[in-house]
């Protein structure tokens, strides 16, 4: 650990250069930064749990340093990569389905309700 530096505080330093505002409501910009940092943390937790399970499977016991030193082999790496991809697909479902919706161009549901009422 670096003795002189408050590495936690310093690591969050902002980059020089005005940050673009992506939304009219600044709170929404802040919310995105929190939600996706949390999403990353959940992903890291899931990976840690997978590591623990794999170590227990292999050895039946666990040491903290084994977790830190764990590096998946190619097969485990692919299994974990696939799990991460599936996890991202779950948290990003709303975005992905909006892309599909843009392609589909469905009419508003009230149009269909009214149409079926008439038919």
């Amino acid at each position: 650990m670096s003795g002189e530096l408050d590495w936690v505080a310093l690591s969050g330093r902002r980059a020089k250069g005005k940050r673009p505002a992506f939304f009219d409501e600044p709170a929404l910009d802040r919310l995105y930064s929190t939600v996706f940092a949390l999403a990353a943390e959940v992903s890291a937790l899931r990976e840690r749990q997978d590591t623990i399970e794999r170590l227990l499977d292999a050895k039946g016991t666990l040491r903290r340093e084994d977790i830190e030193a764990y590096a998946p082999d190619r097969r485990a790496g692919e299994e974990r990569g696939l799990a991460t991809r599936a996890y991202i697909a779950r948290i990003m479902r709303g975005f992905q389905q909006e892309v599909e919706a843009m392609e589909a161009h469905d009419p508003p549901i009230m149009d269909i309700v009214e149409k079926l009422t008439r038919e």
Binding site: A15, E68, G81
Partner: protein, 404 residues
């Protein structure tokens, strides 16, 4: 299906200068690696749909014509809810990559600084010059949203920015640059070995080398050559020189110098002048000065080669130009848009490289296929992140130099 999964962070090649990552730090990079691929792939497609289905029809209705410039598309797309969301995600992904990388580096900075000092004292491959000023185009914003840019530091003589750059590039590029993040340099080597298999350059200059991840593969491929890698940023060079020494490379020197003033080298000193993803980090005045200096120090018959993204041209659809411009406005790459809008061949010609000595070649990142499966971007564009580049080059004419 699994073969287009990015490899885990732990599959990266290790070298002694590389900061050590804890289990969870590697896992955070794994998330970002996947997330970046997802953003450019699955949901990135929404940008074009939003444009074609909503933004373009609205623009036509309002103006009675199609957009005539990528900036018109940008203004219109910045009002679109989808593009705003996608941009917010992409920007946050970059900020998270910087934050994660800086946590890794700063918590072990004492050890990293000490190791870099040791490597650099023993290797003699680092030559810093405190008289070199940081040009405005490197300091006006922190490039790539990296706090401290390429040049800043947390304390005197540290390696924070270089180490952070190295530790997180894997996630930024979705693992597309290979285990040592050196796919760009490997691509250059692959290209030249195929183009001129018998060529043996003796002296090679790499301008804007940062941490030398693209210059080192060139030094390794030409062990009899002397490679000089220059940058204005001491903070990057300190790490880069130590990294090269840690990799066992001995024929490269990291020299703090500006490409705008190469006066310490005589006319025709180098056989090869290389820049890799560097020209877009300059300013409109600096770029021609650097190219003119490069021309002066290049020997007749020598090679100048710039690896860049493709230039914008009339043939490139405006929407693609707009998407490629994203980093200029959202990832602190302020010269990106203007640089890619220039006729680089014309700029090169003004710097002394006749049009008929110039060429444009396509190069792809070369990475170890045993660890890194083929990039999913094959054939598809990622608007600035895919490991596919254009090489803008020239072989300096012999006859003209003799007549001069």
């Amino acid at each position: 299906m699994a073969n287009d999964l990015p490899p885990p962070y732990t599959a990266m090649s290790r070298h002694p200068m590389m900061p050590r990552v804890s289990h969870d730090e590697a896992a955070r990079f794994n998330f970002l690696t996947h997330f970046n691929r997802y953003l450019s792939g699955t949901v990135g497609a929404g940008n074009r749909l939003a444009y074609e289905k909503r933004v373009l029809p609205a623009f036509r209705a309002e103006h009675g014509r199609d957009p005539e410039h990528r900036y018109e598309i940008r203004d219109a797309m910045n009002e679109d809810s989808w593009h705003r969301m996608w941009s917010a995600l992409k920007r946050n992904s970059m900020e998270m990559r910087q934050h994660n990388g800086r946590q890794v580096v700063l918590r072990q900075l004492d050890e990293l600084d000490a190791m870099a000092r040791q490597f650099n004292e023993h290797s003699g491959m680092l030559a810093l010059d405190p008289a070199i000023e940081q040009p405005d185009y490197q300091t006006c914003v922190d490039i790539h949203c990296q706090p401290g840019g390429y040049h800043g530091g947390e304390r005197e003589g540290d390696v924070t920015v270089g180490a952070n750059y190295d530790v997180g590039l894997f996630a930024t590029t979705g693992g597309a640059l290979g285990g040592l993040n050196d796919g760009g340099g490997q691509a250059v080597v692959g290209w030249i070995k195929a183009e001129r298999p018998d060529w043996k350059p003796r002296r090679i200059l790499d301008i804007g080398c940062t941490i030398g991840h693209n210059a080192v593969p060139i030094a390794q491929a030409f062990p009899d050559a002397e490679v000089i890698a220059i940058d204005t940023a001491a903070a990057s060079l300190r790490y880069g020189a130590a990294r090269a020494a840690a990799l066992g490379v001995t024929n490269i020197r990291f020299v703090q110098a500006s490409g705008e003033d190469l006066s310490r080298w005589t006319d025709g000193h180098f056989d090869w002048v290389q820049t890799t993803m560097f020209l877009h980090e300059l300013s409109a005045k600096a770029m021609p000065r650097i190219l003119a200096e490069a021309n002066r120090v290049l020997a007749p018959g020598g090679l100048i080669l710039h690896i860049e993204q493709p230039q914008y041209s009339d043939e490139m659809p405006l929407f693609e130009q707009f998407m490629r411009d994203w980093d200029a406005f959202n990832n602190n790459e302020p010269f990106w848009s203007a640089m890619h809008g220039q006729d680089l061949k014309e700029v090169m010609a003004k710097a002394g490289f006749p049009q008929d000595s110039q060429f444009v070649a396509g190069v792809r990142a070369v990475v170890d296929p045993a660890i890194f499966p083929p990039s999913p971007d094959a054939g598809e564009e990622d608007y600035g992140r895919a490991a596919i580049w254009n090489a803008y080059g020239a072989w300096k004419p012999l006859a003209k130099a003799q007549a001069a």
